[in-house]
C-alpha cells in the first residue's frame, strides 16, 4: 500500500500472466521447429529449385515449358479432367449413400461406417491391384459377364480413363462420405419435422430443408476429393496403364528418367499454387471449420 495508484496484487497477477504466456510459448516451440524444418524449408527449397534451369543457372525455362509444350498442357488437362470426373462420381455415389446412413439408427450407421472405413484403412496399392485383377481382360468381371452371356467380347475396363475413374472413385469415396456424414448427422431432425408439419411433402422437405443444410458438408467433401485427386499417383499409374498421365506421374518421370529436378519442382509448385487457390475460393464459400466437417 505504498503507492496510491497501485492496486492490490496488481503486480503479482501481471507477473503470473506473463509467466503463463511464456510457458505456453515454450510448449509450442517444438511444433514451430517441426513446421519450419518439415514444411517451410522443403517448400522453400522446391520454389528455389523450380527456378534453376538445366545448365544450373537461374531461369524461367521450367515454367515456360509448361505453357509452350503441348504435352504439358495435355497433362494439366488430363489431371483436371480426371479429378473433376472422379469428384463428380464420388458425389453421385456418395451423397445418396451418406443420406441413407444418416437416416439409420446409430448402431446400423456404425456398421455401415465400418464398411466405409475398412477399405479406407487398407493399403492403397493393394486396392489398386485388386481392381486390376477384377477389371482386366480375363478378370473376374469380364469372365462372369461372358459366362452369363451379357457380352461376347471382354470389355476393356483397364488401361484407360474408365479404369482409372473406377479405381480413383473407390479410393476417394470415404473422403467425401466422412465430412458429409458428420454434417448430415448434425442437421436438426426437428427441422424436417417442422417442414412436414408446415405442409411439405417428404420430397419437398428434402429439397427445401435437408439438401440446403447439407451443402457445407458436401462442398467440404468435394473439395477434399478434388484436391487429393490433383496430386494422385499410384492408381492412375497402375489402372491407366501409361495412357493416363497426370501431373504427379510427370513429376516422377522428370526425376527418374530425366533427372530434371527443376522441371519436377516447377510442376510441384504449380500443383501447390492451384491447390491453395482452390482452398482460398472454397473458404469464401464455406467457413474453414466446415471443411473439417464441423458445423
Amino acid at each position: 500500500m505504498a503507492l496510491i495508484d497501485e492496486h492490490v496484487n496488481e503486480a503479482v497477477l501481471k507477473n503470473l500472466d506473463r509467466k503463463e504466456n511464456f510457458t505456453l510459448f515454450g510448449l509450442t516451440v517444438p511444433y514451430l521447429f517441426l513446421i519450419f524444418f518439415l514444411i517451410i524449408i522443403p517448400v522453400g527449397w522446391l520454389f528455389y529449385m523450380s527456378f534453376i534451369g538445366r545448365d544450373g543457372s537461374y531461369s524461367f525455362e521450367n515454367y515456360e515449358r509448361m505453357v509452350t509444350q503441348k504435352s504439358y498442357i495435355r497433362i494439366f488437362l488430363t489431371t483436371f479432367k480426371i479429378s473433376f470426373l472422379t469428384t463428380l462420381i464420388c458425389a453421385l455415389l456418395g451423397y445418396p449413400l451418406t443420406y441413407f446412413m444418416s437416416q439409420l439408427s446409430r448402431k446400423w450407421a456404425g456398421i455401415c461406417m465400418i464398411g466405409v472405413l475398412i477399405p479406407f484403412w487398407t493399403s492403397l496399392l493393394v486396392r489398386t491391384y485388386a481392381w486390376l485383377v477384377l477389371l482386366q481382360r480375363k478378370g473376374l468381371i469380364n469372365n462372369i459377364a461372358i459366362d452369363l452371356g451379357f457380352i461376347s467380347e471382354p470389355i476393356k475396363f483397364v488401361h484407360n480413363t474408365s479404369g482409372t475413374l473406377i479405381g480413383m472413385a473407390h479410393i476417394m469415396l470415404p473422403f467425401l462420405i466422412l465430412p458429409l456424414y458428420a454434417n448430415m448427422r448434425a442437421i436438426d431432425k426437428d427441422c424436417l419435422k417442422a417442414a412436414a408439419n408446415l405442409g411439405a411433402t417428404p420430397t419437398r422437405a428434402f429439397w427445401t430443408v435437408f439438401f440446403p443444410l447439407s451443402i457445407p458438408g458436401l462442398l467440404a467433401g468435394l473439395l477434399i476429393v478434388f484436391v487429393i485427386c490433383l496430386g494422385f499417383y499410384v492408381t492412375p499409374a497402375v489402372l491407366g496403364g501409361g495412357k493416363i498421365i497426370m501431373a504427379a506421374m510427370k513429376i516422377s518421370s522428370n526425376i527418374e528418367l530425366y533427372f530434371s529436378w527443376g522441371a519436377a519442382s516447377a510442376l510441384g509448385v504449380v500443383l501447390l499454387v492451384v491447390t491453395m487457390l482452390i482452398l482460398y475460393i472454397a473458404s469464401k464459400l464455406v467457413s474453414i471449420d466446415q471443411i473439417g466437417g464441423n458445423k
Binding site: C191, K193, A195, A196, G199, A200, P202, R204
Partner: protein
C-alpha cells in the same frame, strides 16, 4: 370460449416401445377453442401424445379426430395444424421472413399474399421490421416468437406447443406465458400445450391433463387440480405440499395418535396421505373453529423474499415422527413476530383445506 376452431377427440390411444407403455389407453376431449395443457414429468408420455396429434408418432391403436375427421392415418404434412417445437426448429438457412413464409409458399400463395401474411404474423408476435434478420442473429426470445409466427401464419385451427418456453430464462418465460395465453384468446384456435412446469400449466390453461406413466391421471381446471388432486402423485407434483401418512379406522381419521377433521366424507379403512399446502397453514391462537391444530417445534425458518418458509417438526407424542412445511407471506402479517428456529408453535389448518389422497 365460443369459437369455430376444431375440437380434438382422442380415444383409447396406446403406444408401446417393446414392453414399455409410452401411452396407455388415453382418452381425452379437447374442446373447440380450449387451451389444454398436457402436464407431466419427463418420460411421462406427454410429448408422445403430442407427437401422435402432430402425426410424427403412429399409435399402436386408438383414434384421433380433428372435428369429425379421423386423422390417425393421415401423414403430418396433410394435417394442417401449427406446431411450435421445443428447440424452435427454425430453418437456419432461411431468414426470418423466409421461415415464416415457408408454409404459405407450400400452400401456393402468391408473392404478395405471402408477404402480407408474413407481415401480419410478425406484427402479432411483435417482431415488426425484423423480417430480414438471419436466424442466428436472434435472441432466444425472438427465435421463440419467430417459431410461433411460423406456426400461426397459415391460420391453423389447431396449435400444438411442445415445451416452447423451456429454453428461456425465468423472467422472460413468465412474460411469454401471459402473452401466449393472450394470443390464444385473440385467435380462433384450439391449443394443446405440453409442459413439465406445473406453475406454467396453472398460469396458462383452461384445463390441465396430468399425465404420468403413459396414463391420464386427472383432467380438470387449474383450480380443481390444485385444490382437489385425486392422488398423491398429483398432490406432490402440482404446487408445494407436505404429504403426511394418515390412517382411517372406522370412519375416523388419525394422524399419529390425534384425530383430525377432513373436508370430504370419510374414506374406507386404510392408509392414506394427508395433503397440506404450506400456504394454507396459519399461526393459531387456539380459538379457531373447524380447524386442525398441529403443535411442534420450528426446525428451520428461512427468509425467501415474498414469504417465510418454516419447517416444523410435529410433536411426536401426538402426531408421530414427521415434519411439515409452512409458508407465511411477508408483509401481510405486520405486528406478528416471525417464529424463529427452536420456538414452540401451534399452527392451524382449516377443515375445508384438509383432505386425504391415496
Amino acid at each position: 370460449m365460443q369459437s369455430n376452431a376444431l375440437n380434438i377427440s382422442i380415444n383409447d390411444v396406446t403406444k408401446t416401445y417393446g414392453d414399455f407403455y409410452a401411452l396407455k389407453d388415453v382418452s381425452l376431449e379437447v374442446k373447440s377453442g380450449e387451451f389444454l395443457t398436457l402436464l407431466g414429468p419427463s418420460g411421462s408420455g406427454k410429448t408422445t401424445l403430442l407427437m401422435v396429434l402432430a402425426g410424427f408418432t403412429r399409435p399402436d391403436y386408438g383414434s384421433v379426430k380433428f372435428g369429425n375427421e379421423e386423422v390417425v392415418t393421415k401423414p403430418p404434412h396433410l394435417r394442417d395444424i401449427g406446431m411450435v417445437f421445443q428447440n424452435y426448429a427454425l430453418f437456419p438457412h432461411m431468414n426470418v421472413e423466409q421461415n415464416i413464409g415457408y408454409p404459405q409458399k407450400l400452400r401456393g400463395k402468391s408473392k404478395s399474399e405471402v408477404k402480407e401474411s408474413v407481415a401480419e404474423a410478425l406484427s402479432i408476435v411483435k417482431l415488426d421490421g425484423l423480417g430480414h434478420r438471419g436466424v442466428a442473429e436472434l435472441s432466444g426470445g425472438q427465435k421463440q416468437r419467430v417459431a410461433l409466427a411460423r406456426a400461426i401464419v397459415f391460420k391453423p385451427q389447431i396449435l400444438l406447443m411442445d415445451e416452447p418456453l423451456s429454453a428461456l430464462d425465468k423472467k422472460l418465460r413468465e412474460e411469454m406465458q401471459i402473452e401466449l395465453r393472450q394470443l390464444h384468446d385473440s385467435l380462433t384456435m384450439t391449443t394443446v400445450y405440453v409442459t413439465h412446469d406445473q406453475k406454467e400449466a396453472l398460469t396458462m390453461s383452461d384445463r390441465i391433463a396430468v399425465i404420468n406413466d403413459g396414463e391420464l391421471k386427472q383432467l380438470g381446471s387449474p383450480n380443481e387440480i390444485y385444490t382437489n388432486p385425486n392422488n398423491a402423485f398429483i398432490a406432490d407434483f402440482i404446487g408445494e405440499s407436505s404429504l403426511l401418512p394418515a390412517k382411517v379406522i372406522s370412519n375416523k381419521t388419525y394422524l399419529g395418535a390425534s384425530e383430525i377433521m377432513i373436508s370430504h366424507p370419510s374414506k374406507d379403512d386404510g392408509d392414506y396421505l394427508l395433503v397440506i399446502r404450506p400456504e394454507k397453514l396459519f399461526l393459531a391462537n387456539g380459538k379457531e373453529k373447524d380447524t386442525n391444530l398441529f403443535s411442534g417445534i420450528v426446525e428451520g425458518s428461512i427468509f425467501q423474499g415474498e414469504s417465510q418458509l418454516l419447517v416444523i417438526k410435529l410433536d411426536p407424542g401426538s402426531f408421530g415422527e414427521q415434519s411439515l412445511r409452512m409458508r407465511l407471506p411477508n408483509g401481510s402479517n405486520i405486528g406478528q413476530k416471525v417464529p424463529i428456529s427452536g420456538e414452540k408453535i401451534s399452527v392451524g389448518l382449516r377443515k375445508s383445506d384438509s383432505f386425504l389422497v391415496e
